[in-house]
Symmetry: C2
Subunit: 390 residues, 2 copies
Amino acid sequence: MQDFIYCAPTRVIFGKDTELQVGKILKEAGATRVLLQYGGGSIKKSGLYDRVVQAVREAGIELYEIGGVQPNPHLSLVREAIALAREKKVDYLLAVGGGSAIDSTKATAVGVPYEGDVWDFYCGKATPKTALPLGVILTIPAAGSEGSNSSVITNEDGWIKRGLGCDLTRAAFAIYNPELTYTLPAYQTAAGASDIMAHIMERYFTNEPDVDMTDRLCESVLKTILKQAPVCVQDPTNYAARAEMMWASTVAHNDFLTCFRVGDWASHQLAHELSGLYDSTHGAALAVVFPAWMTYVYKHDVQRFCRFAVEVMGVEMDFFHPEETALKGIAALRSFFRSIGMPTTLKELGVPENELDLLASKVKRGPDGTTGKFVPLTEADCRAIYELMK
Amino acid sequence: MQDFIYCAPTRVIFGKDTELQVGKILKEAGATRVLLQYGGGSIKKSGLYDRVVQAVREAGIELYEIGGVQPNPHLSLVREAIALAREKKVDYLLAVGGGSAIDSTKATAVGVPYEGDVWDFYCGKATPKTALPLGVILTIPAAGSEGSNSSVITNEDGWIKRGLGCDLTRAAFAIYNPELTYTLPAYQTAAGASDIMAHIMERYFTNEPDVDMTDRLCESVLKTILKQAPVCVQDPTNYAARAEMMWASTVAHNDFLTCFRVGDWASHQLAHELSGLYDSTHGAALAVVFPAWMTYVYKHDVQRFCRFAVEVMGVEMDFFHPEETALKGIAALRSFFRSIGMPTTLKELGVPENELDLLASKVKRGPDGTTGKFVPLTEADCRAIYELMK
């Protein structure tokens, strides 16, 4: 059982039409000049862009914007946003979208008041001392960036993807209208579900003893996804299912489920390489990686994998054969991913079978040559896990 | 499924010896003149008082204090604290203790900058516009005030107990060292457990449909108490059990479990009268009230009570006789309270049997003459529920 510090101060405004409150909320927060960041054209097509712009302008706030934030948001666009924010003397940032728009906005928040280059924060050369405040209108439940302190930016100079964990980048407010997610395609919905589950499972598989309370809380949110993701895929305008997916996205990654625990996070490293080399959707890559990782490591703590099988996946405990119970849980997870349209093999992700050595060599490992806290993995371990994804 | 606004910004510092950080934390927050409030002598006997005073003074902070905060904290002491805070130009408040010390501090926080009398906020005559910042060192897991926006103050002029819900009174930080609770007597430990469970059950019994995610989260925390309260009672220096009780206290009442839901809260009104007239410990009164309330209302939603029986109390579902399953769940809860040393009858609380009419007449009800949202209770209903506590 670990000591911890926990602070998730984001003000959550959740419900129908809540995006219309954004002008009032920004004004109450003292914003006068706001920079909006968003991704592709979907928020324009849906009319969300117009509603947001109108709400902000009606509150008497100057609005500037940077559109076209890419998945795996790019450093060059962040630098552009920082320059624009400085030029226009922006005092508040607003992200409309999912993890990419939010992460780009977080990087902008720490970059604007910093004299050096914002990449310093992501390559570990400097630590942010201050940041512009930021708010979020969430449209994609997946990354959990709306509630987390983390952001990931890709430097196109070498295509280096780096993360920053910094409480100054927690959103001051986050607006959730489940109806905004009705138009998410099934694949993106399922990839989001996989991403949310992965955030929880990274925390769930821990060597910490006596973490029963957060075990149960993790299981609660995992079971919510098992129940609601298929509903969202099959019935995209189901309000309750979309709502629980949105809230689960935040709870999974705002550190509430980290209390008392040490997470693993090797699967994220294994998945990052798939996204980096083959442009796999993050959630889809995680759906391929996680069951393979589990199969490779379950013997490290069979009882924990039995708990996962029984409490999350609904497998009946076989007290004569705990290992079989553990394996059934992993098989059930793989089946679940398949049932919502996620890939579960490298082939489905389009990864050539002869590049596993390359992949394994690229996985980011610590100074001791390993990655992951639950079971520290060497390069050979990573290679073997990729092999299990064939 | 309800829309909601949720913001629980308190910074949680959790672990062994964390109280020693209080000076540093206050200093970083800009505090220069701090008013400390605490209850009886227990924090002096344990040495906690000395450690806190030393830590604050070593940080170069002026410290003033008001001791002797009573359970059901009194308005007169709050007024005294406000006067002292103004006189000494205090800029930060610190509570060391449980719900009473924290609630007294919350009232002081809104009272100091207010020109009128602080009771205005509690009798509904005014709404706080600003407040002094406050921090907490928690020593009693029960009321959840360390994470909540609520406080309850008793006006000795008429012995009127009134609550205030106000986000300005959320603690800026809360420090938890489970070892500080090792010396809590078994009865107080059990009453705290009952209070925590009651906060969750008030939220759990709702008429809102489609609240599966927060149902599960409620069940997780309830099961934590079922597991850890008996451990704390029998093995008072069990760190993990004390730690989970502390964290459960906060999670139960900081509104995280309110998301999407409408709570009931009739049982709290029924218990308030027992505390008011017979000075019953709040948690003990709730242990008497809740099973009686459940027995009276379970037919309103047998399936919800079956869920409680199965998912929380571990009763096997009898699909032929759901009502029996529901009743077995209630019986199991009553047995649990008894097993940790809580009373489950009015007689054990020392309430005279011939005063039930008086009790029922005093229960606070709304303009429509009822109390409670799950099942609105009339005075006659309240009388009947008290009858079930005999």
